[in-house]
């Protein structure tokens, strides 16, 4: 609990649009401050909050802290950061708006939520940019401080929408709007630290966080500890932020603007120790885990690119694990160094996004030909070309699958949630090392920056990964004994990995076609045909090592199967839950392995009358499924740079269920509409 907070009178009345605020403030200070907990507490099972502001307003940090508080409190949660590619887009403009959405609940949830219940808007642009996503009745907490004529114009408002609050036909009429001078109150609260007005105002995000933390009864210790550490070297800034945070809390507790405090109880979770984790962090940890499991030191050869750079940042901190991070001159040199390291017997990794994969394609082909273990991480973003650097998309599947010259099969592994990036990374390393092949690890921007509670895994459960370096001759006897670099393991078809420094096994590899077994250059037509087929057979054979798919078909009577891959797992799962809750049957299966497909996939697809394939692309998995299994896959495709919405998916699933079961589609939609959405 906080100490009692003493407010000073807010006396900056220079701007007319703050007049109302002064009145509010005066009332707060003149009233008796109520006892903590004196306000009404209302129970909720889930809340979606979106913090939005200018990209310099610290909204990502605010959202992240609120998330950490909620995680520490024990809610289940999913987050969706959304920010512009420009580091500091022109202040106050629509393109400069940065937001962070957090969905927290007292039960297991799968998505960051379709529509926010609460919007915190720090300026006119943030209000305008996010208004369209709000459902009727949503609460809006808006910082009025920046609602100046200039900023209103920048955001494209002809008139201040706050002026017409309460009028008939107000643009904000459908919402519960709380206009507050957050900035002014922050400046006032931190006055004692003697900061410049600009620096003082910067703490407004902590004031907002404090207010929201009060409103939802979040524990505050983690944030205060965080601020102490973050600003340890600048005492006045540290104290100002902590003070602003506490002032925000106390404002909530004392003001009459908010009469209700909400409570979202902890979610039941399986026993274990948890932490909140983002996809990029989990992925980096998974790489370290794969390194420890295999005993192979990592060399990450990479070039900074959004949204993958955090993997480089993270690994560069962990040199004590023998990790070398090489920030190369370009994408090609990054993968080149990783291939060199792989030849030298290390775990070669390269990390990038779609444009980087395009540049690395030739080198990945070299790794296919030389059959060296290599991890290629593609944190997908909106494309083509530079596309939408900070937005999410799944449109690199076919690039991962086919984006090389020649027949160059590459296994593809995709994580389905932020925490799952850890396991997917370990799996990619298992495949790469076991089968001596480059492996594509397809994450995306939503997974990379989104976060969720993650049960810290027991390392004893990770797979053993054996580099199994070649040390001896493998062909011929006695005097004729020699080393053949392309003589394969019968079971895996993997070639031996003989690393420099191994006496007697000196050999040359390269991009030219290899003779079967001996590995010398070969232009023989029959040999080329054999080698092309063998490389394909090796990758296809990975399916033998994959577990059966888990089909979620609770009733066993579903006629419609929804199949997805990657980060759509959450929205698809939520959409399926909604359909089931509305009384209809649907089955769900999610693919971790996109190449090769699991062995039982064909049989599973055959069990259902209709197959729906939701993707954040124009139907890339659909194309692969149709091509391989001759299944009449129905696509559900959106490429908006944002995760799919559960409600939209439920509608699409419902329509297909109606068709498959011969029910009136309008009835199914009515069932969905009448079903409360809180389950997702």
């Amino acid at each position: 609990m906080f100490q009692f907070w003493t407010y000073r009178r807010y006396d900056d009345s220079s701007e007319p649009n703050r007049q109302w605020q002064i009145k509010e403030w005066a009332r707060v200070v003149s009233d008796q401050i109520p006892e903590a907990g004196a306000k009404q507490v209302k129970q909720l099972d889930r809340v979606i909050i979106r913090f939005a502001g200018d990209s310099g307003d610290g909204m990502q940090l605010t959202g992240d802290r609120f998330t950490q508080e909620s995680a520490a409190f024990g809610n289940d949660l999913v987050t969706l950061p959304n920010f512009p590619a420009e580091i500091r887009a022109p202040q106050g403009t629509l393109p400069g708006v940065s937001s962070f959405q957090v969905h927290f609940a007292d039960h297991d949830i799968l998505t960051a939520g379709d529509a926010p219940d609460v919007l915190v808007a720090m300026n006119p642009a943030a209000l305008k940019a996010n208004l369209g996503d709000l459902p009727k009745g949503a609460a809006i907490i808006v910082d009025t401080h920046d609602f100046t004529a200039r900023n209103l114009t920048k955001a494209g408002y002809a008139a201040n929408p706050l002026d017409s609050l309460g009028d008939a036909g107000s643009a904000l009429g459908e919402f519960a709007v709380h206009p507050l001078d957050l900035t002014g109150m922050t400046v006032e609260a931190v006055k004692e630290f003697g900061l410049s007005r600009k620096d003082a105002a910067r703490a407004k995000n902590m004031f907002a966080l404090g207010l929201l933390s009060w409103m939802y009864g979040r524990p505050t210790e983690t944030t205060i500890d965080f601020l102490k550490k973050r600003f340890a070297k600048v005492e006045d800034i540290r104290d100002a932020n902590i003070t602003a945070f506490k002032a925000g809390w106390n404002f909530g507790e004392t003001t009459e603007t908010f009469v209700v405090q909400y409570e979202v109880k902890p979610a039941p979770m399986s026993p274990g120790t948890y932490r909140n984790i983002s996809g990029n962090l989990a992925l980096a940890y998974g790489l370290v885990a794969g390194s420890v499991q295999s005993g192979l030191d990592i060399l990450l050869g990479t070039y900074p690119i959004t949204p993958a750079s955090d993997i480089l940042h993270e690994l560069s901190k962990h040199k004590s694990f023998g990790i070398t991070t090489f920030q190369a001159e370009d994408e090609i040199a990054g993968v080149g160094a990783a291939i060199g390291a792989a030849f030298a017997g290390k775990l070669g990794i390269t990390s990038t996004s779609g444009p980087g994969i395009a540049l690395k394609s030739e080198a990945i082909g070299l790794a296919v030909m030389t059959e060296l273990p290599l991890i290629v991480i593609d944190v997908q973003r909106g494309g083509p070309s530079t596309g939408l650097p900070t937005k999410t998309e799944q449109a690199d599947l076919l690039q991962a699958m086919f984006g090389r010259n020649g027949e160059a099969p590459v296994p593809i592994v995709a994580p389905q949630s932020p925490g799952d990036c850890f396991d997917a990374a370990v799996e990619a390393i298992r495949i790469a090392v076991t089968y001596r092949t480059p492996v594509m690890l397809l994450s995306d921007g939503y997974l990379a920056n989104g976060s969720e509670p993650w049960r810290i895994p027991d390392l004893a459960n990770l797979p053993a990964i054996d580099p199994n370096f070649a040390t001896e001759y493998n062909h011929g006897e006695g005097k004729d004994a020699e080393f053949w670099p392309y003589l394969r393991d019968e079971e895996t078809l993997a070639r031996p990995w003989a690393i420099p420094g191994t006496a007697g096994l000196e050999h040359r590899i390269g991009g030219l076609e290899k003779g079967d077994g001996h590995g010398n250059i070969s232009y023989d037509p029959a040999n080329h045909d054999l080698m092309v087929r063998t490389r394909q057979a090796k990758i296809d054979g990975i399916a033998e090592s994959l577990p059966p798919l888990e089909v979620d078909d609770p009733s066993g009577r579903a006629k419609v199967l929804v199949i997805g891959w990657g980060s759509t797992y959450g929205p698809i799962g939520a959409g399926c839950r909604r359909v089931r809750k509305a009384g209809h049957q649907v089955a769900q299966v999610h693919l971790r392995h996109l190449n090769p497909f699991p062995k039982d996939l064909g049989e599973i697809l055959g069990r259902y009358d209709k197959v729906l394939v939701p993707e954040m692309n124009l139907g890339q998995l659909s194309l692969l499924l149709r091509g391989k299994y001759l299944v009449d896959a129905v696509g559900y495709n959106q490429v908006r740079g944002l995760p799919l919405k559960a409600a939209d998916l439920a509608e699409a699933i419902g329509a297909l269920v109606a068709e498959a079961e011969g029910i009136d589609p309008e009835q199914v939609q009515a069932d969905l509409t009448s079903t409360p959405a809180e389950e997702v």
Partner: protein, 364 residues
């Protein structure tokens, strides 16, 4: 046998480029470094001479053969690794320096060599070359410069003289050529040398100094292509002309050339660079003394500008620059060692601590 680091070229004893690479005490010959693959360059190709020189030079290094790695890109010269019985990779066009960087950074116990050509290193791979040089990764880059594209059958290269008539430039090429030595010096390479395929003794001495140098050594080797650019280097090879055409660079020696040593290099006060003069005109005291160890690459660059850009009538040959500078890979290893010294516990324990860090909570 160990590498001769105080070679006749007058190089001092630095921390050697092969320090950390296991040595081999038994006898080695060129045959030990010859693979069973049939050499398939055109008859008369300068690559044969370089291959022979390298095969007979490698035993002098006294290293374990399995700890030597040759990496190449694409082009005629890039077939080189197939003919050496060491570890090798014939990679993709222009990328050999990046692959070699990965190898060198991964393993201190390997002697890493790159074989490349004027197209591979200066056209498609120009970026990787300059960045390897500025980083100073411990490796030796042999840049075979025949001033033409051979493998694609005779288009002009980035070192071809302007106006060159080739299959792709029937009215003459328009490109201004690169001077590989100037380029390397501009990238602040720590070791830059030039030698000639046909001068086995000089070639071997330069290779020896390059291998001994810790850091990226760039050795430009003038190499004749008898098919598409025959005679490109005749002026510096022909007995009648070579005394005037070759400007020999030996550290600590006055730069004199010509049949009687009558020509020399002097400072050009007008341009701020270096020019050719007659000793008789300028006097012996004015003759420039070559200082390969000068930390400032300006003079070396000025000397490199005396390379004829058109038909090669004049070219400085020898070691332009050799300075000591920490290598990228040594420093990367030092950072890892420092981090490892500070860490306690087995990797698995530290991993558990890492992933279990941050704000955690426990559900019973």
């Amino acid at each position: 046998m160990s590498i001769d680091t105080t070679s006749e070229l007058g190089m001092p004893q630095l921390r050697t480029g092969v320090e950390g690479v296991p040595t081999f005490d038994g006898p080695q010959t060129g045959k030990d470094y010859t693979s069973d693959q049939e050499v398939r360059w055109c008859p008369g190709c300068g690559d044969y001479a370089v291959l022979k020189a390298v095969q007979s030079f490698l035993p002098q290094l006294g290293l374990r053969r399995e700890n030597i790695v040759f990496v190449s890109g694409i082009g005629c010269s890039s077939r080189f690794p197939y003919y050496l019985d060491t570890y090798g990779m014939h990679s993709i066009h222009g990328r050999a320096p990046s692959i070699a960087t990965g190898i060198a950074a991964a393993r201190e116990d390997l002697s890493v060599w790159v074989v490349t050509g004027d197209g591979d290193a200066l056209s498609i791979g120009g970026n990787h070359l300059i960045h390897a040089l500025r980083r100073n990764v411990n490796m030796t880059i042999l840049l075979f410069n025949n001033r033409i594209y051979g493998l694609t059958k005779g288009q002009y290269s980035p070192t071809s003289e302007t106006g060159k008539v080739t299959k792709s430039t029937p009215m003459g090429s328009l490109d201004h050529p690169f001077n590989p030595v100037s380029l390397a010096l501009g990238a602040e390479a720590s070791f830059v040398a030039r030698t000639i395929d046909s001068d086995r003794k000089h070639l071997t001495a330069v290779l020896s100094a390059a291998a001994a140098h810790r850091g990226t050594s760039l050795v430009e080797i003038y190499q004749n292509c008898p098919i598409f650019n025959d005679g490109a280097f005749d002026a510096i090879k022909d007995n009648d002309t070579k005394a005037d055409a070759i400007i020999p660079l030996v550290h600590g020696e006055p730069i004199l050339f010509g049949a009687e040593g009558e020509r020399c290099l002097v400072r050009d006060t007008e341009s701020g660079g270096v020019k050719v003069a007659l000793v008789a005109d300028v006097g012996a005291d004015a003759v420039l003394v070559h200082d390969a160890h000068n930390p400032d690459p300006t003079m070396a660059f000025a000397i490199s500008r005396l390379t004829e850009l058109g038909y090669l009538k004049q070219s400085p040959i020898g070691i332009f620059r050799q300075v000591e500078r920490p290598t990228y890979d040594d420093q990367a290893r030092a950072q890892i060692a420092q981090a490892q010294e500070a860490a306690t516990g087995e990797p698995a324990e530290r991993l558990a601590a890492l992933i279990g860090g941050g704000d955690t909570w426990t559900v019973a």
